[in-house]
């Protein structure tokens, strides 16, 4: 089956086969990252514009590196440095980027739905690098890539996502990716941040950490996004840590071979015990490295590359 999408906007709209295609492509690119010369000519002559209207460290650098390793030119700019601060609309800014001969746009935006909006407006590919609380498709892809790498097939595996689910695009994209790949997902956290509506996305909702962690193969922690919340969602970070923070005692409830994940940035001592973040079971930094390979795959495929042709590219 050939890859036909020009945009990567959501995981929700992808089929299981398409997810497999991206993962297979990423696997091929992953080997490049271990080489001394990390560069293939797949996107030579193309220009990728990283258009980040929200702060980002990992995602933005990973997209930049991914584009460079594919031999593309890459231009990155952020909200503070752009004309959006002068009142230019997203529509106008994006059309200007296109007029400046960009071949692809990678968009990070605080408003859910804005990558879809741009994809309908522009004739160049748009890749969603996180839209509000909606989706963060490349994050979920690097997460399942990492889980596969560590655990093999995810079919029938239990994955616990713990923390601020309500405001999390990472949670939503992972829910879609994991359920499509046959994993059983449980979302856990305080009832104000893990509303029962999530059951309609095909996951279990729990507020009891012990039973949720019992037979999990993966525990994925999410940062408490205090910048997105009003004070009313939970009493304090201290209370959150005491009720839901992953400490050593609680980590002993999960299976011995289970892995601990976090999309970053981590708040040490809040959602995760500092030592646990650095422990053997933590794959947090491997996630970051895999993120480059996954973004190489996303850029390559949306630029018109085919999964089976990656070997030749290499």
């Amino acid at each position: 089956m050939p890859w036909t999408r020009r945009h990567l906007i959501t995981i929700e709209e992808l089929s299981r086969e398409e997810i497999e295609q991206i993962l297979a492509t990423a696997k091929a690119f992953r080997s490049i990252l271990d080489r001394r010369v990390k560069r293939v000519p797949a996107l030579r002559g193309k220009t990728v514009v990283n258009f980040f209207l929200e702060p980002s460290t990992r995602t933005r650098i990973a997209f930049e590196m991914a584009a460079k390793f594919l031999s593309a030119e890459v231009v990155s700019f952020s909200a503070a440095a752009s004309s959006t601060t002068k009142g230019e609309t997203l529509r106008d800014t994006a059309q200007n980027i296109q007029a400046l001969n960009a071949d692809m746009i990678v968009l990070r935006h605080s408003a859910a739905g804005s990558p879809l909006y741009l994809s309908r407006l522009l004739h160049i590919p748009v890749i969603n690098a996180g839209d509000g609380a909606h989706e963060h498709p490349t994050q979920a892809l690097l997460d399942v890539f990492t889980m596969r790498d560590k655990l093999g097939s995810l079919r029938g595996r239990k994955v616990v996502i713990l923390g601020d689910i309500l405001f999390s695009r990472v949670a939503r994209s992972n829910i879609h990716a994991l359920t499509k790949l046959g994993a059983h997902v449980t979302v856990v956290g305080p009832s104000t941040l893990v509303p029962y509506w999530f059951e309609h996305l095909g996951v279990q909702v729990s507020h009891d950490l012990r039973s949720a962690l019992a037979d999990a193969s993966v525990v994925m922690l999410l940062r408490i996004q205090h910048e997105r919340q009003e004070s009313s969602h939970f009493p304090s970070l201290g209370e959150y840590t005491s009720m839901f923070g992953l400490n050593k005692t609680r980590a002993s409830w999960i299976k011995p071979d289970a892995i601990i994940m976090h999309p970053g940035p981590i708040n040490r001592g809040v959602e995760i015990d500092s030592d646990l973040a650095d422990s053997e079971r933590s794959v947090i930094l491997q996630q970051v490295t895999n993120g480059i390979a996954v973004r190489m795959a996303a850029l390559y495929l949306c630029a018109g590359g085919q999964p089976e042709a990656v070997v030749n590219v290499n």
């Binding site: 997203l90 739905g113 839209d131 996305l201």
Partner: protein
Amino acid sequence: MSLLWITHGRIIDPASRRDGPGDVYIAGGRIVPSLSAAQKKRAKKIDAGGRIVCPGLVDLHVHFRDPGQTHKETIVTGAQAAAAGGFTSVVCMPNTSPPADTVGTIEYIHHAVTNAVVRVYPTGCITVGMKGEQLAPHGSLKRAGVVAITDDGRCVQNNELMHRAAEYARMFDLPVLDHCQDESMTQAAVMNEGVVSTRLGLRGWPHAAEDLIVSRNIIISAYSGAHIHLQHLSSARSIELVRRAKKDGIRVTAEATPHHLALTDEALGTYDPNYKMNPPLRTEADRRAIIAGLRDGTLDCIATDHAPHTDYEKDREFDQAPSGIIGLETALPVVLAVLVRENKFKLPHVIDLLTRRAANVLRLPAGTLVPDAAGDVCIFDPTVTWTYDAKAGFSKSSNSPWHGRELTGRVCTTIVGGRVVFDGQRIAS
């Protein structure tokens, strides 16, 4: 004296329980029982060709953006859109720029209305600047001609202030219209809170935020005896609260919009801001409750909440787009589709909800074809199917979810005070 003779119509006038073939006569701007043979010779004759002849439609809820936001709409263009939709009397909301909280602004509106093709009734603010802090001068506003007071678009959050407003306005027999929204529960909210908002990652506006204020208003109405009209109700719970309040004899009335009747939050899947309104589209259960509320009289009438915004304001990220859609030119076909064809309401019942019952809420002199009533008439064909082009409409804005869609039922003629203001194509100059 100008004379008008409408023949060959199916006359539906719910106020006089009239439904059948017949003629309607207008002399000197008012409905008359008949014309003399000599008058008939002189009268301008309109052949309704078997189509529906009913009272001009009445809309208690429009935003004409005038003064101050006339890039979106003006009283003149808004009135033209009303005429094209069969409406002959409309009540415009005071959230203009400046808000209509002074006699001067009401006088400006009265002046602008002289160029409007339909009857435009102003409302005044409940609070100064719609800030919810200090009462606006309701007595002076009443003397200047407002038919009600409202902070529509905002909701008075302070219960003490709302109580005093109701008590004070009652002295002038001024109904208080309220947009029911607890703002503390809806910070940054852009759509209904529920399964769909969870999936889309959009900030939810729980129906409880409407229900709370509806309850508050029922209690204040019962306590003060003031008439409070609940605008654009969207939640099943709110409607049940109103049903019980009416049973208890409390002086509350309520309206529903065509979009809350026809659409649900499922429509937001593509993040199209033309489905962003406040209150937001809710669930199928809420939609069914609104229809049931109109069926049993819990909801008094249909009102459009016609809310024009330009393309460049509306066409942007969903979170940042303003709320609201235009509705005057699509209300009748949308309501016919939902209530008559889908839910088997009788046509006279639906016309009643769009005419007499709406007029009764604010005691407007409109909504009937009985002798001596204003000569305001709508003639429409309930069967003709057409494609709605919002850009070709008469509103200055085109923010409509029905743009490009096929609609069934179309206004052929709109008459205000015995004068044809819309002939199915053009607005009278």
